[in-house]
């Protein structure tokens, strides 16, 4: 982690419940990440299509209102932003298992444990940096 905002890693957090989204976003910011908040998949896709915005990892709820849920968003990202890690979160165990099948990166259960979320994100970003170093 760095104090230089230009070198900060950016998490795109997708969560429709504001009282869930805000605390986890603040926690991740306190851990040194830049966090972009999106309330649904449509907003997340708008951010990801914005050319000037860099996103290093997407952390998304699975169950969200709207035409596209977390699974749909993960599929869209695989198609449009291959190589971008997606971490999904859900409350139903079977849903979490499906998430694990969809995303090699795994999933986290809800309610969120902030430390577990942070550990997952840090591990994925470290692995991403290691992959880039070997490219």
């Amino acid at each position: 982690m760095t104090d230089n905002p230009n070198l900060q890693e950016t998490v795109l957090l997708v969560e429709d419940e504001v009282l869930v989204r805000m605390p986890i976003a603040q926690y991740l910011r306190d851990c040194g990440y830049k966090v972009i908040e999106a309330v649904n998949a449509d907003e997340a896709m708008a951010v990801l299509l914005h050319k000037d915005t860099v996103v290093d990892i997407v952390f998304s709820d699975i169950e969200m209102p709207g035409a596209i849920d977390g699974f749909g968003l993960a599929k869209w990202i695989r198609e449009h932003r291959p190589g971008l890690d997606v971490l999904l979160a859900g409350t139903v165990p079977r849903t979490v298992q499906n998430a694990q099948q969809l995303c090699e990166q795994g999933s986290v259960p809800k309610p969120y444990d902030a430390q577990i979320v942070h550990d997952h994100i840090k591990r994925l970003l470290d692995a991403r940096k290691a992959r880039k170093a070997f490219e």
């Binding site: 504001v18 805000m22 926690y27 306190d30 851990c31 908040e37 708008a46 902030a114």
Partner: protein, 148 residues
């Protein structure tokens, strides 16, 4: 849907990093003020929140009036200023949100913004009105003046 989040305070050291960054900002020796930003367009919200955080503020983001009231009614989170778009989808627009917050939390400063022009009779009971697109420099100067 659950609204629980378990924190492990002090395990990351992140707060110390953030506080050190805030302490390095001129005029930010005191605890940073908290702004509740209400904006339904994600790219506008993202950009403005980033600019406000770079100016040293803690920013809580809401995409509509209901989310803003949820944040205020849950714990309050020490919000000192509401910055809200006027035209928003949902149960309340920015003017109704401002009236509600003025009635319940008169200590909170309120600044409204819109791409449309509104007469002062609409936003006169607030602490400022800014046209959109936002001029971030002027807006932040105004917020600094309001929050002292």
């Amino acid at each position: 849907m659950t609204r629980t989040l378990r924190h492990h305070a002090g395990t990351s050291g992140g707060r110390a990093v953030v506080q050190a960054k805030r302490d390095s900002l001129p005029g930010c020796r005191l605890a940073p003020a908290t702004i509740l930003l209400v904006e339904d367009e994600v790219l506008v919200r993202m950009t403005l929140a980033d600019q406000l955080r770079s100016a040293g503020y803690v920013v809580l983001e809401a995409s509509n009036a209901d989310e803003a009231l949820d944040l205020l009614h849950s714990k309050g989170y020490g919000v000192q200023l509401l910055l809200s778009d006027i035209r928003m989808p949902g149960r309340m627009d920015g003017l109704e949100l401002a009236r509600s917050i003025r009635a319940q939390h008169p200590e909170i400063k309120i600044v409204l913004a819109s791409g449309e022009s509104f007469s002062a009779s609409h936003w006169g009971d607030t602490d400022g009105f800014f046209p959109k697109p936002y001029n971030a420099r002027r807006l932040i100067e105004h917020i600094k003046m309001l929050l002292g």
